[in-house]
Chain length 130, copies 4
């Protein structure tokens, strides 16, 4: 779970996305507790308020609910909704990138080539044991 403090996308939103991804990927399961505000803040080297803000967004999205003095928990619907959001976000991002590339005069072939290159560039830990 990495945070890029120089990105234009706000830290708290990066945290939101990252937690959502974790839920979608099954790292955090329904009923389970998320890392506490302070734990997360220490881990990410970020102010607790920033984490709190991220958690607040997640709660308002219904992906998570909080109990004072106890912690934050993943809701049942949270998994499905996180997955849906991840998918649609991917599509939106790709579409945006492709649009930019096209307006820069890149051909579909070179865009597709770049995509395959990007896809192969990262090692895929998920499949190592097929």
């Amino acid at each position: 779970m990495d945070i890029d403090p120089n990105s234009h996308v706000p830290i708290y939103e990066q945290i939101v996305d990252s937690v959502r991804a974790g839920i979608a990927a099954g790292i955090y399961r329904p009923g389970e507790m998320l890392p506490s505000l302070r734990t997360m803040a220490l881990e990410l080297v970020v102010n607790p308020n920033t984490v709190q803000r991220a958690y607040e967004v997640l709660e308002r999205e219904g992906i998570v609910y909080s109990r004072r003095g106890i912690g934050l928990f993943v809701t049942k619907q949270g998994v499905a909704s996180s997955r849906a959001k991840s998918k649609s976000a991917l599509l939106a991002n790709l579409s945006g990138d492709i649009a930019s590339a096209r307006s820069a005069g890149l051909t579909d072939e070179s865009i597709r080539a770049a995509f395959e290159k990007a896809l192969n560039r990262t090692a895929q830990q998920t499949r190592s044991k097929t």
Copy 2:
């Protein structure tokens, strides 16, 4: 040439990217003048200061040079450098998106499917010469 005022990437950077794309695509050619500050500002519904800032960046990058009192002109090396930048930006963006998707547990198949969908979704002006 669209600007999204709600995007997290600053408007002036969106303008920079967009002009760079125009140069890469051959819409603006070496020696040609870019739209004036005010023209551009009116067209994008944006404050002239913001366009000014974008033009400064482009000039600093050597993609463009200014003739005082006349306007901004595309440099010869601007085309190549714009193209290179567009390509590497595409690769970086795609890599980032794919990394996010993977961390959300999406398989390579579904990522590729999303890519093809995105590729087909937008009208392809580039193919006019098939």
Copy 3:
């Protein structure tokens, strides 16, 4: 006797109000013992510390007194004072609600209509002796 953990009013205050209501309504009578800390805590699904805190408040208000090692008992003056407090609280709450409604531009007619609706909406246990 319901506790709303998401309410902004602290749980221990909700308990205080609720016990006060019980005394006012004659459910707990002078000289009678209140449910023990643990009983109450189990019933309300709340931490014993929280109940403890509520009981402290009630004791400080003189509505209740404690016999060490035995339990909490309703005082004679507790009944009257609980009733008075319940009544004045009702008046204060209604006044606040009405003030908000007015500042939102609601007419007295629609406020009164809402009141009647609210009055009829809940089952009226109070009327059992009609």
Copy 4:
């Protein structure tokens, strides 16, 4: 527009309610700008961050939209949705109060009496010229 710093309901939520009421009452109209963060903060003697948080909630509710460097504006749908929310909030509050009153053993008659008293207690500026 009054803020009660000792209330259990958070200041930022009081601001939300208050702005919503203002919109419902027609004090702020669609397309109009709300008081700036700093102005509002000075007026309410509150930290700008607190106002910002309130505005954020309003924006997420779709009652208001923000333009960086310009200000916050009421949306068209904002009026209707504010009115709806004010009404349902009134109903909920009254219902809660009545439920408490009943559980304290108050009769419907005395509750209604308290309501009328509360209704008359505040002067109604809105109707002074009928």
